[in-house]
């Protein structure tokens, strides 16, 4: 599969949720289990992506400067810093630590 094809398929797949949401009957939303699982699915995927991005490299578990970045981001989020500030601070933390050889 080429990257561009994957971009198109994934975009169509994401659009299908938005599109069919406008077509299905509303009572679907009334089942609490459905909306609960949907909300938790988002949490599980975001957390799994965060953890693998922070703690792995290829197929190995690698603990490095990224851990310090995550601590800094969590503290900033706790104090309600804007998204861009959090992301930039995480990058700066890892970049500085690496510059000094960590």
């Amino acid at each position: 599969m080429t990257l561009i094809l994957a971009v198109l398929i994934a975009s169509a797949a994401v659009y299908s949720w938005k599109f069919f949401g406008f077509l299905v009957p509303e009572r679907f939303l009334e089942k609490p289990a459905v909306s609960r699982i949907a909300a938790l699915l988002t949490v599980a995927l975001l957390s799994a992506l965060m953890a693998t991005q922070a703690l792995t490299k290829g197929s190995e578990i690698v603990l490095d400067a990224r851990i310090a970045s995550m601590v800094v981001s969590a503290v900033l989020l706790k104090f309600k810093a804007p998204f861009l500030v959090v992301v930039a601070a995480a990058a700066a933390t890892a970049a500085l630590l690496r510059l000094f050889g960590f």
């Binding site: 990257l3 994934a10 659009y15 679907f28 939303l29 609490p32 700066a92 890892a94 690496r98």
Partner: protein, 222 residues
């Protein structure tokens, strides 16, 4: 208000653009994601999986992006009765149905304000998100090795930033901790991208049996 939300959201389009080219996509593939997929969480998921596993991980990248898009379907369900008859505009409204447009739209008290809020916010976010994705992609391209600038750490922080507001009670917190553990523990033994998909099973188990629930988390769609 719509403009403010659009600018604020667009600003993290810069980080998406830069991280996307750092993950191995080119500028045009990055721009296509923002134009066609137009859903931040799914876009970050797609490039996150590709960054870890390259071309072999593309099916997992598609699946992750798709599963993270599910909440847009619920937003569409919410917006449908509020927007009234849409006709030919429905496919456009569908594409603009995201966190921000739904958030502003549903916060209004009159039907007219709801419609205006939804359309203006959706359009503003679309314009700023795409313009600043392009700027970020150019910037990322100019930077070179992403690790020197800590862009790998920035990607992890971006996911934490998207996750943070959802950790409002014990149930999502338990799911977040368990799925993070599952994904990292399985990384050495499974093909790239698969650990993330398997971590999603945590949500099915906890949500299906309603474990770690307190009353306020029931049916809470955020």
């Amino acid at each position: 208000m719509s403009l403010g939300v659009g600018i604020a959201t667009g600003l993290y389009g810069i980080s998406f653009g830069a991280l996307s080219v750092a993950s191995g996509l080119d500028i045009w593939q990055t721009q296509l994601l923002s134009l066609l997929m137009f859903s931040g969480g799914s876009q970050f998921a797609f490039i996150g999986v590709v960054a870890g596993g390259g071309l072999a991980s593309l099916p997992a990248a598609i699946a992750s992006a798709w599963m993270l898009g599910v909440r847009n379907g619920f937003y569409a369900l919410q917006m449908k009765p509020l927007l009234g008859l849409l006709g030919w505009k429905m496919p456009i409204a569908a594409q603009l149905t995201i966190d921000e447009s739904t958030g502003v739209g549903t916060a209004q008290s009159s039907n007219e304000d709801t419609r205006r809020g939804f359309w203006l916010t959706g359009a503003a976010v679309f314009v700023f998100w795409n313009t600043l994705t392009f700027a970020g992609a150019l910037l990322g391209n100019a930077l070179g090795d992403p690790r020197i600038y800590g862009l790998d750490a920035a990607a992890a922080a971006a996911f934490l930033g998207l996750l943070w507001p959802r950790l409002s009670s014990l149930q999502p917190l338990a799911v977040a901790v368990a799925s993070a553990f599952v994904a990292v523990a399985l990384t050495p033994v499974l093909a790239a991208g698969m650990p993330i998909l398997l971590a999603a099973i945590v949500a099915l188990i906890v949500g299906g049996f309603n474990l770690f629930a307190n009353r306020s988390s029931d049916g809470d769609l955020t």
